[in-house]
Every structure is written in structure tokens, then in C-alpha cells.
């Protein structure tokens, strides 16, 4: 709930008596890189590398900062930190389950050992595909929203943490890496304004861009007010469907991992291809490339594609029905999600009153 105070920091000391100021020349809004330590809450750069860096930083912080602070019961421990720590069981549980299963496998005799190894292999793959499925469900919606509405649901921002106690010392954290749209109730609208802008058009520039994507034609001065409800709606629908699609995609993932085609894919072969083919010593670049192609295509994509066919076909009546319904329902749910998000968030499906002038209280729908 620091929204208000931070806005005060941004704007209160500046005179906003008129829209145009002669002193500060307007520059294109360049966002800071991830590693800059800002003094105030700041939207960060949003390219692929920045995002990887954000995720890396966040992952490193879990064992180095959040866990020590949590174990010590730091008074300024936040909900964000708790959520970060919650990733530990999420990513630990699956592999441990697979390991336990593997330990129960009868390996002594060659015959039964092989059969059991296959089951264990499906299990391990299943765990991996579970996480992939969850990632895929999220990505489908993220990309839909990005493509249709130009809204990046993962736009990172650096949240400055005023460490109130002086006792956090080496585990001090100055910045938490959040996402601007992570909260529905407390969306960081403020960060999405261009703070270097001088005119309302400049300040609203990001909102104007989004509004265009939403199909909203409004006064540039208050376009932000018009588009915000739509953005909020987008966030709600996207989040809901991400959770819902996860259910479908993880089921699909497990279904695919459970197909016999993976039994023919040799783990050793893949390892050797990577180790000796791609990263082997004294190899020409061309042959490395070829090995990489084999590793990706023959060991991953091809069996992955085949597993779809096998899941669809099934090996018994029940499994064929199950396979078909998993694939069909996942596809149907995905299409429904996309069509609902695209359809319902469009400005065309809303009645928008155009205020026309810079009237106070205008732009309300």
C-alpha cells in the first residue's frame, strides 16, 4: 500500500500547474536496465534478456536473501518474499516424487528392471512435462494478450524497499522485482505513465499505445482513464485463464510423457549427442550444429510430435477416449480462452463515453 506515498514522491514536489514546461525537454521514454538500483519504484526494460536477468536475480535471491530472512523471521519480510519461497516446494516436489518412485523400482533382474526403468522414465518425463505444461499455459495467455492488446503482463518493475529496521545487514534488500500488472486491486498504473513527459499526450503515451490496440479512440488527454478498466479486465481474465489452462496443459503434458514413443528415445544417446556431439573436443562447427539439430529434432521434437499421435490413438478403448478428450479439450479450452480474452477486452464490446474535453471527471464510462 505504498502507492500513494510513491506517487507523492514522484509528483508532489513538482509543479504541475500547467501542462507544458519549457525547461525539461521531452525525451523518448527509455526504461532503465535491470541491474540499476533505482531510488524509486521504476518500470524496467522489457526485452528478452532483461526478463531472463529478472528471473535469474529473483531465483538467486530465494536462497541468499528470502530464505535467511524468513528463517530469521525478519520483521519486514514481505508477502512477495513468501511467494518467492513457495517456489521451492513447487520445483522440489516433482523431482523428489520421481526419485522416490525410481527407488522403488526392481532393478535386479534385467528383464523386470528394464520394464520398471521405462515406467520410471515416463514418471521423470511426466514431472518435466508437468512444469512445461504449466509454463506453456502461462505463455499462451501472455502471448495472446501481448499480441492482441499490446499489454505485457510480465513487465517487470523494481520496487524500492525502504528497509526500516537497521538490523537486516547483509540480508538487506533494497529492491524487489515485481510485475507491474501482478495485482488486480493495486495495479501499478502510476508506473505506466511516462514521467519525463511534459504534455498529457506525452505522459499518456504508453496508455495511448495500449488504447489503440484495444480499439479505443479517445481524447489523448484522458485516454488513460478510458483504457484502465479494460486493462484491469484483461488482467483478471488472463490470470483466471492461465490458472484454468494450467489444469489442461499439465494433464496434456503427463498424457504425452506417458506415451510409448519415449521408451525408444535413449537417454544415453541424447546425453552422448550433447556431450560428444555438441560440446565434444576438436569438432568442426558444422558437425556441432548437426549434432545440435539431432539433439533437438530426433531426441525431442520428433518423439514429442509422435507422442501426440500416440496419445490420440491410445492403446485401448479407454485410453483412446481419454487421449482424444485430453487433446480436444485442451485445444477447445485454449481457443475459448483466447476468444474470450480477445473478444471481451476489446473496446468495441464496451460502451465508452467520449468526454471530448478535458473536463474533470471525464473519461468515466
Amino acid at each position: 500500500m505504498v502507492t500513494v506515498s510513491s506517487i507523492k514522491n514522484n509528483y508532489a514536489d513538482r509543479s504541475v500547474s500547467s501542462g507544458v514546461s519549457g525547461n525539461v525537454s521531452f525525451r523518448a521514454d527509455e526504461l532503465p536496465a535491470v541491474n540499476t538500483k533505482p531510488k524509486e519504484d521504476t518500470l524496467l526494460k522489457n526485452d528478452v534478456f532483461s526478463k531472463i536477468r529478472v528471473n535469474l536475480d529473483k531465483a538467486v535471491d530465494i536462497p541468499l536473501i528470502h530464505i535467511p530472512r524468513g528463517m530469521g523471521g525478519a520483521p519486514d519480510y514481505t508477502f512477495f518474499e513468501f511467494l518467492q519461497t513457495a517456489k521451492v516446494p513447487y520445483y522440489l516436489g516433482g523431482p523428489i516424487l520421481a526419485a522416490l518412485f525410481n527407488a522403488g523400482v526392481k532393478m535386479d533382474s534385467i528383464k523386470s528392471g528394464n520394464a520398471a526403468k521405462m515406467v520410471a522414465k515416463h514418471m521423470a518425463l511426466g514431472v518435466g512435462f508437468y512444469y512445461l505444461g504449466a509454463i506453456a499455459a502461462k505463455a499462451v495467455i501472455d502471448n495472446t494478450v501481448k499480441a492482441a492488446r499490446g499489454l505485457d503482463l510480465n513487465h517487470p518493475y523494481a520496487k524500492v524497499i525502504p528497509t526500516s529496521t537497521k538490523d537486516t545487514g547483509m540480508f538487506k534488500k533494497d529492491v524487489e522485482l515485481h510485475k507491474a500488472t501482478e495485482s488486480i486491486d493495486f495495479t501499478r498504473w502510476d508506473l505506466m505513465y511516462n514521467k519525463k513527459g511534459q504534455t498529457p499526450e506525452e505522459i499518456n503515451e504508453r496508455y495511448a499505445k495500449l488504447a489503440k490496440k484495444y480499439g479505443l479512440n479517445g481524447d489523448a488527454n484522458d485516454i488513460d482513464a478510458s483504457v484502465k478498466p479494460l486493462i484491469k479486465k484483461t488482467i483478471i481474465m488472463a490470470r483466471a485463464w492461465q490458472y484454468a489452462l494450467t489444469a489442461f496443459f499439465v494433464t496434456l503434458g503427463i498424457g504425452l510423457a506417458n506415451q510409448p514413443v519415449w521408451e525408444k528415445v535413449s537417454h544415453e544417446g541424447f546425453k552422448s549427442t550433447v556431450k560428444n556431439g555438441i560440446f565434444g573436443k576438436n569438432l568442426e562447427f558444422k558437425s556441432r550444429l548437426n549434432a545440435a539439430k539431432i539433439a533437438v529434432y530426433d531426441y525431442m521434437l520428433k518423439p514429442f510430435g509422435k507422442s501426440f499421435a500416440e496419445l490420440w490413438k491410445g492403446h485401448s478403448k479407454a485410453s483412446s477416449i481419454a487421449g482424444k478428450s485430453i487433446i480436444a479439450s485442451t485445444a477447445a479450452a485454449t481457443l475459448l480462452a483466447i476468444s474470450l480474452i480477445v473478444g471481451k477486452t476489446s473496446a468495441r464490446s464496451h460502451k465508452i463515453e467520449n468526454s471530448g474535453t478535458n473536463k474533470v471527471g471525464g473519461g468515466r464510462q
Binding site: 519480510y77 523428489i96 483466471a240 494450467t246 506417458n258
Partner: protein, 1050 residues
Amino acid sequence: MPSLLNTIPVYKPQSPANTQAPSGLQSLPTASVSNPFPGVQTYSYVPARPLSPARTTPKGVRPQKVSGSLVKENIFQAAGSTVKSYADYAKYFYDAGFKGEGTDYSVGKINDLGIRAGSLGIAAALAASKQFPLAKGMEFVGLATWFASMAIWPHILGAPIKAKTGVDINQQYIDSYGRRKYVYEDNQYRPMDLYRHVDVDGTPLSEDEYYKKYKDDFAYLDAIGDKLGIPKDIKNRHEAIMNKMGQIAVQGKTLWMLTAGIMTPVLSSIVADAAQNPLRNAIEKHRFNKASKVFDGFEKSLDKLVDINAPFDSRKIQTNLDEIMKELGITVSEQSQQTLKSLLLRDCDLSQADFDVLKNLAEGRFAGTDFGQKLRAALDAAVKDGENLRLPKDKMADVLSALESEAMRNIDGNTKGQLEYLLNRSKHLTQSEFDKLQKFFDNELYGSGVKDVFDNIVKNEVKFTEPNVTLSDSLKEGIKKASIDGVRDAVAKMNKDFASTLPDEIKNFAGLTDSEWQSIISKSRNNNKQELDIISTNSLKNVVKREFLTKLKGVKNLDEDAVEMISKYIDSHIDKYMESQRHYIIPHERVMELFKFAEVNKSLMAKVADYEKASVMNIAESITANNWNRLPQKYLKALNFTKEEIAQLGALDTSFSKQVLAKKFEEIAANPHEYEKVLQQMSALAKEAIEKEEKAILRLTGTVDTPGVLSKIKDLMQSVGGAVFKDSDGAATMYKVRIFDAQNKYRNTVDSFVRPIKILDTFKNLDGYVRNILGGSEEAFNNLVKNNSADYHMFEGLKYEDAVKSLKEYIKDIALDKNDINDWTTKFEHNVPGSKRGMKYSLNMVRNIANIVNGEFGKDTAEIIRKAADEAFINKCNANNTIMRYRYLALDYKLARDFFNNKCYMRDYKPAEALVEEICNGNYKNLHVLEALIDERKAELSLSEIAELKNLRETAKLGYKYEIPDKEDFIRRILTPLDFHTSNKSVAEMSGKSVSEFFKDAAQSVRSRSKWTKLVYGLLVGTVAFSTIVIATMGRKNYFNKDIYEKKDA
């Protein structure tokens, strides 16, 4: 002013003069706030003043009364509210996903729902890929235990924390909106007010109730503070307590997050593992009961059909297939029948003249009858094809079945013959049509086990697989044309100059004259039939060819080469033509009947298989499979194997495991107390397992008193086969094999489970056994070797002690090692250790050893077993052992001949003659032998024969002489099948698992299990230890919490 500012969520005084506030706002408390900055009223924008929560109250505004309260419920209530809340979550999803409405709280809850739904989906997907109910069920058990562990672990962790500090890290509250939340969810938000009116035990009270009990607020908080050791005389003590609680909650929740990833799978794994056995037992019981119930109804109908309650010589077995199908509820799929019907028929081609004949009959003599109407419909549907008229086959099916009907039985032979001749042509299939028909049968009967029966009947009785050729004018014309074509082709191939010199008879070759055709007909072997079978066709073809050759030879001025060449062409044309004239005549009704018979058998086999799947089939989760899952490991336990021994047993090298086993058995045999204990445990286990399987098998195979389902089916189908198709053996053999299989299955199970017990007995009494064989002393031994060289030749030159030692080793080896018939053969040919010669010709020696390994229990052993099991169990084991011994030694005819020079080894392996003499003479002394033999061979007896034997036994019991009218017949019918010489080798080769293999497999299972146990319990213990240490230090002063308190002013 840019409207941008309006959208920033700041506290902004409303000026009624400037803007009209929406009516909704007026009721809000902020609407009535007086402007705290009167001096800047003229500005349209006032910098926002930070709102700090609850520290300062804005003037004139009263905080809304809190209506939230702590939740106090036990774990079951909590589970209940969780389930209830899922309905809310579904609504949240609808609002958010379809309408785009929601809050952080409501959308966050969708995640919970999504995870549950996804996991359910996964479990369903995995279950669908499993073939057996337990495997399916375990997927859901795994899912349930996973979520249960996930839900229960924070409570397990929370309990000691609460006990130690008074802080419940899982404490929930209901907020003013009625939403359920965790008190410590967000460390930055401490809803202290919730603790204001709470009883010291954590029960939320109403204000009135509270003040009746307590004077000051926060009694609960104070109690927790006391427990936490927060000094009493400090400023803001409640806040200090809240902060300390926050510290503990953060610590507890971090610990939870660190351990949940390990404990969720570990607990889930342990619980699911524990659930597996009870679930397996429950499913096994349920499946078997269900299968038995289905079988009950089935058997009742079967009893009716085989007339089971009538005396054996006046029983009337139902042989009408339709009645049988009706009674047993068997149906043949409509689709298959239709397919078959359409495959059996083809369109009927008629010449105009034949067409007119039929038309006259349909409109004249048969007008108004069913047949007439059907025929007319077919004639009306006729299509012109060249000169012929074609009646479509679907109409022909009706016509033909009407022709076969009762009403058409009595018409005169001439008309009927004419009709059949004209109409039955639609039953003639070409080669490709016939191939399709065969393919249909192949597909329909594939894997049902019935194909052999079907083929057999086709071969012997319903012959329709032989091609025919119809002898008719058109055949004559065809042959004539073929010969002319042949001559023409031959001439065309010739040198033109030579061709022009050919005689006119060749140039204008006219084929056959009618008289020549008549002579061909009379010369060929056609038996005056119109339809020629393969032999007649070939005969006709040969006569025709010969006729043409003679004709060519008779042509003047035709040289020999030309004759040969022309005749070759004629032959090839005639061959081709005859080939094209081949067709298959299908006896519709018979084929349909046969198909029905096959389908009935198929369905019966499937019914039996359904029952077997739940009980005795070698398939996962059957009673047999479960027995094999459980018993071997229990034996290992009973035998007190150590971990190291189990590791050695489970090793890949069998020779090693045999040594370990031998050592163990010797140890136990040497210790009478231990021996008794182990033996009793094993007997009790074996008894339970065997009885379960026996119950299921007896249902199929039956006894003399209550014939089994398979025996009944066998009798029924034997009768049907005999009555309908003159083939009673085909189906009967099929079921006989099935009965044998079931019986062998049982024998082998008993053998495998009892053998370890018998081996213990052998080890215990080995000294005595060996002494018996080798004589009690050096002297006796030497005498035996000297006088009995045929049997004792392998011990020649050995000292007594060495002979004893080597024979013991030899017997141990046989007892423990593989026990299939081939191994026995080679074993006996092998040397006794230390001696150079095998024991191939030592009849008595082999017999003695076989008796030791596969004989009855020793007396003392039987005494011990009796205490744990019962007499019946001992008898069962002894009988089984004896039968297994027969299998090894006597059943294999070749073995008997090679080993024993065709001498009878034991009187009862060719028992028929001797026994029947006795029994016919009223001497029932050996009746039990007969009974045992009957039991073993009952698959080969019919229900009547079994009933007759039952009568015999009843008579014998009363002490009367059983009158056998025809002794020869009695022997032939009943006792001959009992002759063990008739046994097939495959029966003899089937035997249970060898002891060393048995224990090796068990050891491997135990080892893989112990690996799992180590990991699971290692993780469990490690995590619990870690948690204990962390919990012990929770709430202490530390780096982050300095615990500096300010003393309250005095």
C-alpha cells in the same frame, strides 16, 4: 488541468462547488471530511497526504467497526470448509474468466481450483492408460494422498510450533467481506483487532461475552505473550507480542516452504504405499465376488441346458443353438450377421427365359404366398445386364430364406428342383468373393480360440471351401470357344507361309460337335452331377484335352510338331476357361449355423476368461497374481533372512543364491525349535493362499460331487457339436485343454508354495533318508554296492562317508534347483558328486530320490503342520506332491521308456486294468486311488461319466457291490482316459517355480523395496530432525529481531 491527475488514486478533497460528486460517493465517510487545508482551496489540485493506516484517525471520521473474526475449527471442520469453498471458487472463475470481474483474492483462489482440477485430470489420464483396477485406483490414491499430505503437513508442522510458542501459523480469519484468509499471510499486515475479543483458548467471543469474562482487551494476545516470555512491564506490549508472533509465523512458514517439497511426496508415498495392500485386498475380493455372482447366474442357466439334476443315463442336453443362446443370453452382433449374409450371397443372373419362368411362378402358382411376394419383389428389382437380368443379392436373401421356409416344404420335387436350380445360383461365389468370406471368418474368430473348432467342422462336415464347376450348355459352348481361340492363337504364332499350308479343318476349326461333347461327358467321372467338384472338374478337363488331341491327330496332312503346338494352345485356353468357371457353393443355412456355433463358443470362452481374469489367470491383479505378490516375501520373513542374505539371494548369479538358501535351510532344520516355528508360519501362509485359489479353480474344474462350469460347458458343446455338425470332439477338446490348464495352474501354485515347506522337511530328515538308501553302516553300504550294482553302480569305489556326503549334496541340489521335467532328466543322468558315473539305469535309486524330494511329509513334520494348518491341507499337499512326482517320472512316456526299459515303475501309473478288476469284484480298497486319478483327469470325462463314478463311490461307501453291466464298456469309457500313459508332454512340462528361483524373485522385490524404504524414511527422518531443530530455536532473539523493549513508565 490535465485529467491525468484525476486518475491517480490520491486522497483528494471534493469541492461541491466545482464538481458534482456522484451520488454513490456521498455515503462514504470521506465525503464528509472537512478540508484540512483551507488555505489552498482555490487550487484545483492538492498534493495528496499520505494515508497511514489506523495510527491517526482523520477528524470527524470514525473507523468502521471491524466485523472480522478468527476462525477456530478442528482439522475435519477445516477440510469441510475447504470443500465448501470450491463452489465459491468455481463462481470466481466464471466471473473472472467469462466476465472479467474479480479481485486479487478471488482470482488467486482460482489457482487452487485449477491445481485440483489439473491433478484430477492427470490421475484420470494415467488411470485410463492402466489396464487393471488396482493400478487405476492407485492413480487416484496417489492424487488423494498427495493433496492430503500437502494440506496436512503445515498442520503437522504447526502443532509443535503452537505447543511451544502459542502461535498457530495456520490461523485463519474471516474478514469483513466474509472471505477466509490466513492471519499471517502477509507479514506486513497484522490484523491485531482480530485478537481483541478472543478467549484465552483462541475462541472468538462476542463483545458482551468477552467483557463478562475479562476486563481488558487482548486476553488471548496476553496469554500468548506470556508463553513467548515477552516482559510484562514494557510499552506497547500488544504490539511487541504481535511482532514476535509475526517473527514466528515468518519462521514457521519459511520452514514449511523448505520442507513441503520433500514432505509432500514422502508422506504421500508412505500413505499410498500403506493404502496399496488394503486396496488390493478389497479390489481382489470385490472383483472375485462380482465375477462369481455373474458366474452364478450363468451356471444356473447352464445347469438347465445340461439337465444336471436328472440321473446320468436319462439326461437331455439341449442341442438347439437358438435355445442355448436364449438361455445363456448370448447374442451374435447384428452387424456381423448382416456382413456375413451379404458376403454369402451374390446377385443372381438369369436369362430372359429363366426370368420368365420365375415370373410365371411368382404371379401364378405362388401368387399371394410369402415366397411369391418375395420373389416378385426380387424380379421387380431386376436390372438388365447385357442379355441377362440381374436380381440384386439383398432381395435374393429374402427369396432364399422364404424358399427354405416351412410353407415351401411340401411343394412337388420338380418345381422345387427347378426353383433351387435357378435361384441357388446366387449362392455361387467367385474366388475373390470367397476370399472375402474367409477373411471375414478369420477376423471374426481371431484370437478367440474357436478357429480350430470352426476349421475342423468345415473340413469334415460343412464343406464349402472346395471350388465347383457347373456342367451345362454354356460350359460346352465355353470349351468350344476356348478350343477355337486356342487354334487361332496357335496359327497366328506360326510362320505365315507354313500357316497357309495348313489343312482346312484347322484353318476353319469348329471345336466340338454335340456328339463329341456327349462322349466326353460319358467318359469323365461326373457321377451324373451338375456341380462338379475338384476331382470331377479335373477329370472332365483331362478328357476334354485328350479328346482334342485325338481330334487333331486325326487331321490329315498335319505334322506332329503342329499337332503338339496347337494342342498346347488349346490346353492352355481350356485351363484358363475352366479356372474362370470355378465357383464356390455355399450352403447358407449350414454356414450361418456354424457361424452361430462358433460365436456361442467364443462367447462362452470369453465368459470363462472374465471369471479367470479376476481369479486364476496369469494376469496382473488376479488372485493368483496377488498371491504371488504377497506370499514369497512373507516366506522370506518367516525364514528370518538377514539383509545381507537377501542381498546375496537377489544377486544375478543363481549359483550363489542356491548356496545361501541351502545354508539357511540347514540351519533351520538343525534347530528343532526354530524349525517348528518357521514351519508353522509357512504352513499357515500357504494354506491361506492355496485355499483362495482352490476355491476359484474348483468352480471351473469341479469335483466328482459338483461338476465345474467348464465341465458343463464342455458337455453342452460336445453335444451340440455332435448333434448339429457330427463333430463332438472339436469343441470338447478346446474345453478339455482349458480345464487342464486351470488344473495345472492350481497344481503349480500348490507346488510352488508347498515346495519350500517340503524342502525344509527333506533337509530335516535327510540323514535318515540317505541312511535308508545307503544302508546304515559302512558294511551295509558295501554290500549294497556289491550286490546291487544296477542301482548302486555310481557309488562304486566311494567310501561310505563320501557316498553319504555326495548323495546328500545331490539331493539338496535337486531339491533347490530348477524343477522342470528337462532338468530332472538331465539331473538323473548326472553324476553323484565324487562319482564318475551317472544314474541313468538305476531305477530304484531314482525312485527313492524322487520320493524324498516329492514324497509325503515326514511324520514329525506333518505333526507340526497339523498344528498350524489342518489335516486337509496336509493331504492336499501330499496329493499334489505325489502328482507332481508322477509328472516328473511317469507321465512322460519317453522318459519312462528310456529310464526304466518300459517296466512299470509304480503300479498306479497304469492303473486301469488292476483297479477295474478290483472294483468290479466289489473290492473297494483302492477306491481312493481311483478317486485321486479321476480328480486329476476329470477334464477328459463327461458329466455322465463323472456322475457314474459318483454312483460307484456312493455304492462303495454303503458296502454294496456296484453292478457294472458291461465291464469292457466301463473300462473303455471311464478308465481308459485315466491311463497316465496318454498324458501329453506339455502337461508334464508345466510345473511350479523352483525353490531357488522362488526365493530369488522374492529377495529382489524385498531389496527394491528396502531401497525405497531407505530413501523415504531417510528423507522423513532428516526433514523431521531439521524441523525439530528449527522449531526449537523459533522466536528467539536473533540477527533480525533484537528484542529491545522500552520499560513502561512507572
